[in-house]
């Protein structure tokens, strides 16, 4: 039979192919042609990714800032205060406690601070009620070094600390007292005498109480208050590696009979704790970003479904030209991935800009973790793919005859 002969001549039909470059071109092409609609549908993903990148960037920046700060302040500062005693008594630190702490080998320096209830006035003509919420404290001359503090104006009078009627004032105190310039030798009234302000301190992050204090020597504070003052706090700077050891020794050193009544804190722990409290907010914002991403993904899915409906005849035509179902699926997936990727790129840029701006405003070091950008882009692509899956499958399922009839 002639047909049998003919059949043997038939060459195998090579399979249809849809080159990867064509898939990408089809996806990006139809995305760019649908200008405004594409922008709007990718916006949700952009916002979500931007939120995530900004949150991660800002939390990294603030953590870097904290690390810098801790590095500068040193985590080897301990504060000894009198704890609550058993029963009704309040434990006190004795006047020699700081000296005893200084004898511990691993202690670099220990400085006592004693609060007073002496009335503090700008000058002797002020009403005695006008203390502006400031306090007078007596301190050891080594205090500034122990705190790693710095002086904004003037100099710390180490040489004449216990011999001259001089005072250093905290940053907040300087502001409330209206003392900015020391050249005229401003004085403040403590009790019944004047002391000359010779130093204005920078804010003391680890001893912020002292920012609102006028600081004089302990002997002078005793004189002014007419009492032998016991320390309210002792700041202890230890060797970097022996903080914990020193910490365990301090109770017994200060109060051999009741070591448990002595409270030892490490102020940098409080800063770190504050930072970890902020992490909770970070988690919250990450959650919000995730919700924005979900909404963004739904937006892309929505626009893709519309796209499939609008392009029924294109689907039918492509099938007639030899496209397999999988080629159609790939084309629409490529389009939604393109939307996701574009949204992701825009989002990473927006998030980075937001991080830079906000970190600059806060005076932080700007850190944008590269992982955030990578995760953002990968996430955006994944969202695009997931959002496009259903529309793409629907497009691929369309029978060519139905698609071509839909003109």
């Amino acid at each position: 039979m002639s047909t049998a002969r003919v059949d043997t001549e038939v060459q195998a039909v090579p399979p249809s192919r849809f080159r990867p470059g064509d898939v990408a071109a089809a996806g990006f092409g139809s995305m760019t042609r649908r200008g405004a609609r594409s922008v709007l549908s990718a916006l949700g993903v952009s916002i979500g990714i931007a939120a995530l990148v900004a949150v991660l960037g800002l939390s990294e920046s603030s953590r870097a800032q904290l690390a810098d700060e801790l590095d500068r302040l040193g985590t080897n500062l301990l504060v000894v205060t009198a704890g609550q005693g058993f029963g009704t008594t309040t434990a006190t630190l004795d006047t020699e406690a700081a000296a005893r702490i200084n004898h511990i080998g691993a202690v670099q320096r220990a400085s006592a601070v004693a609060g007073t209830d002496v009335t503090l006035l700008r000058n002797e003509w002020m009403s005695t009620t006008d203390t502006r919420g400031l306090g007078l404290v007596g301190a050891d001359g080594s205090l500034l070094d122990t705190l790693n503090g710095t002086v904004a104006e003037g100099t710390w009078p180490a040489a004449v600390w216990e011999t001259a009627p001089v005072a250093a004032i905290g940053a907040e105190a300087a502001q409330r007292l209206g003392i900015a310039d020391l050249s005229a030798g401003p004085t403040v009234r403590v009790g019944n005498r004047d002391v000359t302000v010779v130093a204005v301190l920078d804010p003391l992050t680890l001893a912020s109480d002292l920012d609102r204090a006028v600081i004089i020597s302990r002997p002078m504070a005793d004189v002014v208050s007419g009492d032998e003052l016991t320390p309210t706090a002792i700041y202890v700077r230890t060797d970097e590696s022996t903080v914990d050891t020193v910490r365990s020794l301090l109770g017994a050193t200060v109060s051999p009979l009741a070591p448990e009544e002595v409270e030892v804190t490490r102020p940098t722990d409080a800063l770190a704790a504050k930072a970890s409290a902020e992490e909770t907010f970070t988690a919250l914002f990450v959650g919000l970003g995730a919700v924005a991403l979900l909404v963004g993904g739904i937006g892309i899915a929505n626009v893709m479904i519309i796209s499939v409906i609008e392009r029924r005849t294109e689907i039918g035509l492509r099938r007639a030209l030899g496209a397999r179902r999988s080629h159609i699926r790939r084309q629409f997936l490529a389009e939604s991935v393109a939307l996701g990727l574009s949204g992701g790129i825009a989002g990473v840029l927006m998030g980075s800009v937001a991080t830079v701006v906000f970190a600059k405003i806060q005076g932080w070091r700007v850190v944008i973790p590269p992982e955030a950008a990578v995760v953002g882009l990968v996430g955006a692509v994944a969202i695009g793919a997931v959002a496009g899956l259903y529309p793409a499958v629907r497009a691929a399922r369309l029978a060519p005859t139905d698609a071509l009839r839909g003109a």
Partner: protein
């Protein structure tokens, strides 16, 4: 012609039946035998509802017959998978539709090149062949124009070029002049004749007897059957 006998028929339907489910089922094609030899120009004529559109869809492998055999250039298609049918369309078939179905966002050249999109041909070569084919259908100067900037006749020429670019064994034209004024219709029919003279196998499906008149062979369908054949 001795060369023709060496080639398998471009289209060979044997006892093809197509039923659409329903109560009762609709029999759109009823035991159709039709053989189109390579190089023929055949008009399939019928009123709407005669089954001629179903015939085009089945012959174009866009729809599967319920019963019977379909060979495209000797390739038995009834046993082929969906993907294999797609390959047959890519290699052997060219479609021309009444509504042109050009992609509005692509230029004429890009639309023609799309005809090769699923054959694994490199983009540069697709473009080069598209330019040649546009020239062949008399639109060499319109390559960079978008469909909306062209007349209906020009658009159908672009669609014909797209159908031809893959070198199909069979060109299936569904009412190719249905959306055109009479002058454009004449020129499209003239183009089809030229292509036929160059050896392209063409099946034109139409309800218009005037279009059918121009074909050397006319097959009239009605009620899903072949009613008459004229040569």
């Amino acid at each position: 012609m001795s060369t023709d006998t060496l080639l398998p028929p471009a289209l060979d339907l044997r006892g093809v039946t197509k039923e659409y489910p329903g109560t009762p089922p609709v029999r759109a094609l009823d035991d159709v035998d039709l053989r189109v030899e390579a190089g023929e120009l055949v008009a399939i004529v019928g009123q709407s509802g005669s089954g001629k559109s179903t015939l085009l869809h089945v012959a174009g492998t866009l729809d599967r017959p319920t019963a019977g055999e379909l060979r495209i250039s000797g390739v038995e298609t009834t046993s082929l998978s969906d993907d294999q049918l797609a390959a047959v369309r890519a290699r052997h078939l060219g479609f021309v539709f009444q509504q042109f179905f050009l992609l509005e966002e692509l230029t004429a050249t890009e639309n023609v090149a799309l005809g090769l999109a699923y054959q694994g041909v490199a983009p540069d070569e697709r473009r080069a062949r598209a330019v040649d084919l546009l020239d062949r259908v008399g639109l060499g100067h319109r390559g960079h124009h978008l469909p909306r900037e062209m007349s209906g006749g020009e658009r159908q020429r672009v669609a014909i070029a797209r159908a031809l670019i893959g070198g199909p064994s069979l060109l299936l034209a569904d009412e190719p002049t249905g959306n055109l004024d009479s002058r454009s219709s004449q020129s499209i029919l003239a183009l089809l004749h030229e292509l036929h003279d160059e050896g392209v196998t063409i099946v034109v499906i139409t309800h218009d007897p005037e279009v059918a008149e121009m074909a050397p062979r006319r097959v009239t369908v009605g009620d899903g059957r072949i009613l008459t054949e004229e040569r």
